[in-house]
């Protein structure tokens, strides 16, 4: 077991579309200072950003927690949103239930979960309709 040395916590604010990406951006800067290789920074930033967007579009925001150890980075995104009715469908490339408003802002291409799955080594989703969703991603270095 690798020791967890550094943890980060962010609140993802649903009211401000402009601030989406703050948590992933700040996480990237921390990883850069810790000396993680470029390719790890990129995977974490992309996977986490997708998760952040999803929380804002579908779930009225939530929290993002990051646990950093030299061997892996674990990202936990937690929301109290509507839950995902059909995970298998949601994982498909191009599938989206985003609102017109979100689409008008350039989101809703249906790449969110697909990208998370692509860039993370492990992706675990726990969801309950009407209660919320927890997305856990592990990126190994």
């Amino acid at each position: 077991m690798s020791d967890i040395v550094k943890t980060l916590h962010y609140d993802v604010d649903p009211k401000d579309f402009d601030s989406v990406g703050e948590a992933s951006g700040k996480t990237k800067n921390v990883l850069r200072q810790l000396g993680f290789p470029p390719e790890v920074l990129r995977r974490v930033a992309i996977a986490m950003y997708e998760g952040e967007i999803n929380m804002v579009i579908h779930a009225n925001g939530g929290t993002a927690d990051v646990e950093i150890s030299p061997k892996q980075i674990k990202i936990t995104l937690k929301d109290n949103g509507p839950g995902i009715p059909d995970i298998e469908k949601a994982m498909q490339k191009g599938y989206s239930t985003a609102s017109e408003e979100a689409r008008s802002l350039g989101f809703g291409a249906g790449m969110g979960l697909f990208n998370m799955d692509t860039y993370a080594d492990e992706l675990n989703i726990t969801t309950k309709i009407g209660v919320g969703t927890t997305v856990e991603m592990i990126i190994r270095t």
Binding site: K6, R32, L34, G35, P70, G106
Partner: protein
């Protein structure tokens, strides 16, 4: 150990130790210690922001002087198109090029023409599927240096082509040897530059092992002799030296490179802080439909360069007016003898991890922990009075062994207050002692 050459340097006598430069440096590369600014060499990208902001003119760019051309038997000027917009009376590019010959150059070749070659080469790379999107322009050396130290994930997106300056120098080295029969080292090729980073680029090029540029002369240093020569020229008997069209000349302006290449699916961004925020977003894959990103460190493009004389916005208008006169032109006609392979990079810039706190990740994590603790004890006002650009930067400097918590004026004041209290207590105790006696 890597040696760093920098064009941007400090004139220590002029520096008053104020904090203007540290607050404006986009890479947090400057600290004030012992009342003088110090540039952290590894972090400086030679963007020239500090040259612009310093109220005491203590920041300067090291460049060559016009007299340096005398070291060579055959003297070649390769002017940046930005030069054309510096003069109020010039309405023909040939006037500027003839004036360059009048002040001592034997030959002149427009970097604007070389820019068109770069555009054509970029089109070839795209056609041949040899490059992945989004392509990031490599024309601005400050941006390429920024990417190398801060956005390693984007190194593979860099356009792997020599800059127009380098292409122009390469063409002129070859044609000058053919024309004069001189040895390569007897020919001096001088870039007339709006930009400090180009000087660095000629000393330590990225993408190639050695630059063909022998010297870089600042536009502001050549402005007066050139203006005098322009006034003296016989405008009715000019030698025809111009070879670039409007696409190439337009490279001086924001969006010039991108619009020469494509009509849409591009972004052109100027101003170093805008560039940084766009790079952050590119790095996170946020722009899904962008194929080409032209990024320039200076506001308005190269016309806003720190080594220019004329206001960048005025120069922008002048260059647009010169471009209109060049409209009937195709880039492909009368191509110089140069192939795609001649303008390709021969090496890829390597990632310089200057941000990491320690080579050992466990130690880096410990340092980050300390940094966070120190940061919590700082006032978090980012006043800069300690000589570091922000409280976060001071915390980082302290864990790197390059700062002290008492550098913070607020912490120092608290400490002085508590010492004063201690003195008073001590004094009172002494009185009590005397009384008991």
């Amino acid at each position: 150990m890597q040696q760093y050459f920098h064009s941007v340097t400090l004139d220590s006598d002029k520096c008053k130790g104020c904090i203007n430069c540290i607050k404006h440096c986009p890479t947090e590369a400057i600290r004030v210690r012992q009342s003088k600014a110090h540039i952290i060499k590894e972090r400086c990208i030679d963007c020239g922001e500090c040259i612009r902001i310093c109220p005491h003119n203590a920041k300067k760019a090291v460049t060559d002087s016009l007299s340096d051309i005398e070291k060579y038997k055959y003297k070649v000027a390769i002017p940046a198109p930005t030069l054309y917009g510096q003069f109020e009376t010039v309405d023909d590019i040939n006037v500027v090029l003839n004036a360059l010959k009048a002040i001592g150059f034997d030959a002149v070749f427009e970097v604007a023409r070389a820019a068109e070659i770069v555009t054509l080469a970029t089109k070839d790379l795209i056609l041949q599927n040899r490059i992945s999107f989004p392509i990031i322009s490599t024309a601005c050396p400050a941006v390429v240096r920024l990417i190398r130290v801060r956005f390693p994930g984007l190194i593979d997106n860099l356009l792997p082509l020599l800059s127009p300056m380098e292409v122009a120098a390469k063409i002129m080295r070859k044609t000058s040897i053919e024309k004069t029969g001189l040895k390569p080292e007897e020919i001096g090729i001088f870039f007339i530059s709006p930009c400090a980073a180009k000087m660095t680029d000629s000393k330590e090029p990225l993408g190639t092992s050695k630059s063909e540029v022998d010297g870089v002369i600042a536009i502001k240093d050549i402005y007066i002799p050139l203006t005098k020569a322009i006034n003296k020229l016989d405008k009715d008997n000019l030698e025809s030296l111009a070879s670039a069209g409007r696409h190439g000349v337009g490279w001086a302006l924001n969006g010039g490179e991108a619009s020469a290449l494509t009509d849409d699916e591009y972004i052109s961004v100027n101003g170093i802080n805008n560039v940084i925020s766009v790079l952050e977003e590119l790095d996170e894959n946020k722009f899904r439909n962008i194929k080409f990103a032209e990024l320039g460190a200076c506001t308005g493009g190269c016309v806003g360069g720190p080594l220019t004389v004329e206001n960048g916005f005025v120069a922008d208008t002048r260059i647009k007016s010169l471009m209109r006169k060049l409209s009937k032109y195709t880039m492909e006609s009368n191509m110089p003898d140069i192939r795609l392979e001649d303008v390709l990079w021969t090496s890829k810039p390597e990632y310089f991890s200057i941000m990491k706190l320690d080579d050992d990740m466990e130690k880096a994590m410990q340092k980050m922990q300390q940094m966070d603790e120190i940061f919590e004890r700082l006032p978090q006002l980012d006043c800069g009075s300690c000589g570091s650009p922000s409280c976060k930067a001071l915390a980082e400097d302290i864990v790197r062994g390059k700062g002290n918590e008492m550098d913070c004026v607020f912490n120092l004041r608290k400490r002085v207050q508590s010492l004063a209290k201690e003195m008073i207590n001590l004094d009172e105790n002494m009185i009590n002692f005397k009384y008991e006696e």
